[in-house]
Amino acid sequence: MAKLVTLTIDGITVQVPPGTNVVDAAKKAGIDIPVFCYHPKMEPVGMCRMCLVEIGRPVVDRATGELVRADDGSVKIQFSPKLETACTTPVSEGMVVINTSQKVKDGREDILEFLLTSHPLDCPVCDKGGECPLQNLTMEFGSGQSRYIYDEKMHSAKHVPLGDLIYLDRERCIQCARCVRFQDQIVDDPVIGFYNRGRALEIVTYSEPGFDSIFSGNTTDICPVGALTTADFRFGARPWELNAAASICTQCPVGCNLTINVRREAISQGRMAIKRIMPRQNEWVNEIWICDKGRFGYHYVESEERLDQPLVRKDGKLTPVSWDEAINLVSMRFKQAGSNLLTLVSGRLSNEDLYNIRKLTDSLNGKSALYTQMGGGDVVAQVGMSTGSNLANLGKGDVILVIATDLHQEAPIWWLRVKQATERGAQLIVANARSTRLDRYAKYPIRYAYGEQNNLIAALVQLIDPQKFVDAKAIKHLSEQSIIKDTAEALKAAQNLVIFFGNEGSGVADSQVLAQTCAILLATTNHAGKPNNGLIPVWQRANDQGAWDMGWRPPTDLSTSIKEANALYIVACDPAGDDPRLSLTPDFLVVQDLYLTPTAKLADVVLPALPFTEREGSLTSGERRVQRYYPAIPGRTGALADFAIAAQIAKACGITLEERSAAKVMDAIARENADYAAISYTELANVEEQWPIIGRADLYYGGTSYENKQGLGMQLQNAVQKGEPFQISLPELVEQSGEGLLAVPITRLYDRGNTLIPSQLLRTHLVSTVMWINAKEAKQQGVEEHDVVQIECGETSALVTVELEDAVPDGVVLVPRSVGIPISEPCRVRLHITERV
């Protein structure tokens, strides 16, 4: 480590690494220097001059190079005649910084006066009022009186929708460029910018649609004034009325830490209501950012359609009944079904729910199945991210391999973290059948044909260790390519290796094999079981990993399993909505969900569950970090947490399951599941100080992202780390075969899943029932852009609209998942035009 630099700030001695700027050095010493344009996650630009301080440096005798000393022996300090910007000034040995003198205060007063010359000062109606750095700093350092005449203020537009999610108030902008720099430097979506100069300067967007970025909400957190506000929270409440509950995003396997702001309000009939979702700092997971799906996609939890009492089918109609009646009926029928009971769940549930439901099913000798389109969770338990890993630690010398996934759309914050790792010098390999946004940062962008993903990884393994996959014909044409040879060399030389794998181009079985080959690659290159190394599954749901850890597995053939069952217990998934042709006609169907989904409409009994905002629980992220969420508002009467419902059914069957609290269920998990042995709700609530220090009184420093006071979670140990033997055998490789047009489902961020559709705000962003095809292939197939075609895959079919897209490989059409197209894994299709515009 480089030698530390020693300086004093307001008489306090601080030691910091060379290159640290004065603002950060002061922050480390617990001293706040006011800033507007500087943000600890971005390079300083020195635009606003708010951070002016007095800076003195030791006087050095030029002839001797010695420090000049005063008569009393102390080092002579020379102060520069003017104030200096602390954000752009790096520390130097012996530096003396004064942050509290009258001169400094006068400087601040002057800067504030300039900033306020045309500021509307409409704090009483401004969303930022109460958490506004400009307001706070004006209270602290402003003159209290303006020398400017109101009529001379420049006026400009106050309600400019930059897109449909973010509004701009041009009068309030103080031109700090934090938003512009965030979009450009951090998320590489430079779709907002400065226009004109000086007083005429304004923020503009020219993208179509406006402010076209999936990270746009973050700009409202770091904007130091009320210039940028979200369509969600605008005029919704005053910040000081809000309570804050810690939570975890349930939209993808990243597991971003959230704060849910709530208040009791008249417009919600005196109930507690969620007013906004904010990021909560976790430098191991999401730093201080979240994506717009996490921020704006939560509205499903407050949907009018929510169920608030159990329903039982009577005379063919679903009729409200008491919990007792419903539970008695369910338990009786489940007991009768015994081993003919099939329980189907999804990774939308918490670990506690998954545990209890599994216990219930097992105790009745029923079968259990995970509703998913991807495999490999057991492999991840062996070689997933090891304890002590942080993607932020990856840099020079390290390698990241991303295969069969579009991280930008499937797990936005991982996309961001990978991009940032490349900026620190990590080498990136992006392998997919088509180009994705991550290619931009890849040193080795690799293309293969859909279906070849397993063979590609096998080829890399073979190049590194010729003893493995010997003579495999299926990989020969791959291992001969020079880019793949170079990639193998890079993998061999990697200090740390992280592999992200998804299921684009694979079904459950194929992605299971992909996980295995990736694990073998990690083991072959000697990276398994070390911190900052491991396999990260890009699951479709937030807690798929938890489901695997709780023992759930996808069935080999879902429709057969369903056909064979007498009683079906379907929790938190909607197979009938995804595939209307699936025959769901067991003797007895129980559906446990938030609303009357297409599946629930077929049920004999419907049990209303509580969403994550109204209960406690824990989720296991793709990085195998277990994190807990807290209830943000009281649970709606009539509905119960899934784990509690399972416990009640169990009780009626004579089985004892924990139902008092999620924490107690976790204790049971810890007793039984060795991987979770160290986990408890108390441990999950542990925090430590994180850098940068944000969310305290000096909101101007980090913005309105919340400090993490409720828990950073715990990363599980993987099997290799625990010293258990690596038990993954070489899979059989299959040569690519098959004729005809291949349809491949892909995951889009804004899908049409049940947990996104209710968000009115995102309505125009949701992907529609389309299929993407390249122009050449379209010609070959005789279809044109905007045609409505029937896409047929075996027995199933759907109507889709044709969209042309260059990135789609020849011989392939891509279809989005979760929009009601019943294609859940790659299949050969035929197209029939039904309508031409």
Binding site: P190, V191, I192, G193, F194, Y195, N196, R197, V204, T205, Y206, S207
Partner: protein, 165 residues
């Protein structure tokens, strides 16, 4: 369709060739110049087209257009007369010059003559303070300076434009 690229394929390529391929965005200024010569101003479509050529967003193109006073985002007369009215020029009577010029043309500063030929604008220092009154004209063929001007001179010049086909 990229009209600019299609119409000026060679010229665009010549401009791009001056910069390393991984720093294409450096060609932004000359491309904007090309677009302005073509259309008289930089339209939104031109911003999109240039962004497409350079692999940058239209917003990034717009930021540069907005920053430089010599790029225009609104259509105006074929000839843009830009009169300096900064302090040194004002001391040499430029404000009066501007006023009379506009009166002669029957427009206000910032406006365009009815025939769409001439726009008169005020600008800051043109670095010819000692030869004031001074104005520059943005013409379809480029930028021309006119120093030590009188209103008569200026009007004579304008009449030569009027008589051009």
């Amino acid at each position: 369709m990229n009209t600019l690229l299609e119409k000026y394929t060679d010229e665009v390529q010549t401009i791009l060739a001056k910069y390393p391929p991984d720093q294409k965005r450096s060609a932004l200024m000359p491309l904007l110049y090309l677009a302005q010569r073509e259309y008289g101003y930089i339209s939104k479509q031109a911003m999109n087209e240039i962004g497409e050529i350079l692999d940058i967003t239209a917003t990034e193109v717009a930021s540069v257009v907005g920053f430089y006073t010599l790029y225009h985002d609104q259509p105006a007369g074929k000839y843009r007369i830009q009169v300096c009215t900064d302090l040194p020029c004002a001391l040499r009577g430029s404000e009066e010059f501007l006023k009379q010029l506009c009166e002669n043309l029957g427009i206000q500063p910032g406006e365009t003559t009815a025939d769409g030929l001439v726009t008169v604008e005020e600008v800051t220092c043109l670095a010819a303070c000692d030869r004031s009154p001074v104005f520059q004209v943005q013409t379809p063929d480029g930028l021309v300076y006119h120093e030590n001007q009188s209103v008569e001179n200026a009007m004579k010049l304008i009449r030569t434009w009027q008589s051009k086909p």
